[in-house]
């Protein structure tokens, strides 16, 4: 019976022991029963959501999607930082491909929402998020990238791990907020003197709706294949 159990438990966290250890390094801590607190928190989330819906429907919607997003992020061990860092560090590109797949799905979703509004003559939602692209974008990206690798997580990753109870990243969060406030304080100057000097591009204006979606998906597919090839090559090199 015991052996059968080991074979069926194939998940990495519960895999049966085939490596022989001479000693157990840590005494297994008694596991706290988390089911009751879990149910209590779920209730609290639902009640808070219902409460928020009286104030504003949109607020309740944000509350629900935020909670779902956090849950998926945590359970999937999804990490935007790792998706950009691991190809270099470990040669692993599974998260990179996952992020690219998510981009492809959101591309279709956003295009559908925006096109739907466009053909019915309604104002296209989210157009205020189309901002100028320039070298400033790349410079900001590099700065953000350095920061997130040192801090061990981007915005969503840091929040998710604070929720998990990882102490060091509570410190990250404090300075994340401090940095964001400082950036918000100075943003007006950058907006006026740097960002506004270049042009904002809305791809459907340039390539048409079908063209824009096709080109974006092709670029994502190209990156996906490149990530896949890179991962395989790295795995071969190390053997």
């Amino acid at each position: 019976m015991g052996d059968e159990k080991n074979i069926t438990a194939s998940a990495p966290e519960t895999a049966g022991s085939s490596i022989r250890r001479s000693s157990r390094t840590t005494v297994r801590k008694p596991k706290k029963d988390q089911i009751l607190p879990g149910i209590a928190i779920l209730m609290l989330i639902i009640v808070s959501g219902a409460g928020l819906s009286f104030i504003s429907k949109q607020l309740a919607f944000f509350w629900i999607t935020g909670n779902l997003f956090g849950f998926i992020l945590q359970r999937a061990r999804f990490c935007f930082t790792a998706s950009m860092r691991d190809p270099y560090l470990t040669g692993g590109t599974s998260l990179t491909k996952a992020v690219l797949t998510a981009f492809a799905i959101t591309t279709l979703g956003f295009a559908a929402i925006k096109y739907g509004a466009f053909i019915s003559g309604a104002p296209i939602p989210g157009q205020s998020f189309i901002v100028p692209v320039s070298l400033a974008t790349a410079a900001g990206g590099i700065l953000f990238g350095i920061g997130m690798v040192i801090a061990g997580g981007c915005a969503s990753g840091t929040l998710m791990r604070v929720g998990e109870g990882f102490g060091m990243q509570m410190l990250s969060l404090v300075f994340f907020v401090a940095g964001s406030l400082w950036a918000a304080h100075d943003f007006g100057w950058w907006q006026l003197n740097v960002i506004m000097k270049s042009k904002a591009v809305f791809l459907p204006d340039v390539f048409g709706w079908v063209g824009a979606v096709t080109i974006q998906l092709l670029i994502i597919a190209f990156l996906w294949i490149a990530a896949d090839k890179w991962g395989k090559r790295k795995a071969e090199q190390s053997h």
Binding site: R21, T25, T26, K29, R77, T81, A82, D86, A151, F166
Partner: protein
């Protein structure tokens, strides 16, 4: 056969991974490296790296959100 324990509790990703990569280079074939982690991200990339590198890997949950990643150096 040696067993080396690497305490990475409280260290954020990618520190446990980098430490493990450095440590495994010092070990002999057949030695065990036990990396203790509590950062959920390392739970993913540490076993992934060790497996693609060709070692035997096992993950054992020692507590809530704490894991031992046991790596047997095979080459």
């Amino acid at each position: 056969m040696k067993e080396v324990v690497l305490d990475c509790l409280g260290e954020a990703c990618p520190v446990p991974l980098v430490k493990a990569q450095k440590k495994i280079a010092e070990l002999e074939i057949g030695d065990l490296l036990i990396v203790q982690i509590d950062h959920s991200c390392a739970m993913k990339n540490l076993p992934e790296w060790a497996r693609t590198d060709g070692h035997n890997v096992e993950v054992e949950e020692t507590g809530d959100g704490e894991w031992d990643v046991i790596i047997e150096k095979t080459k």
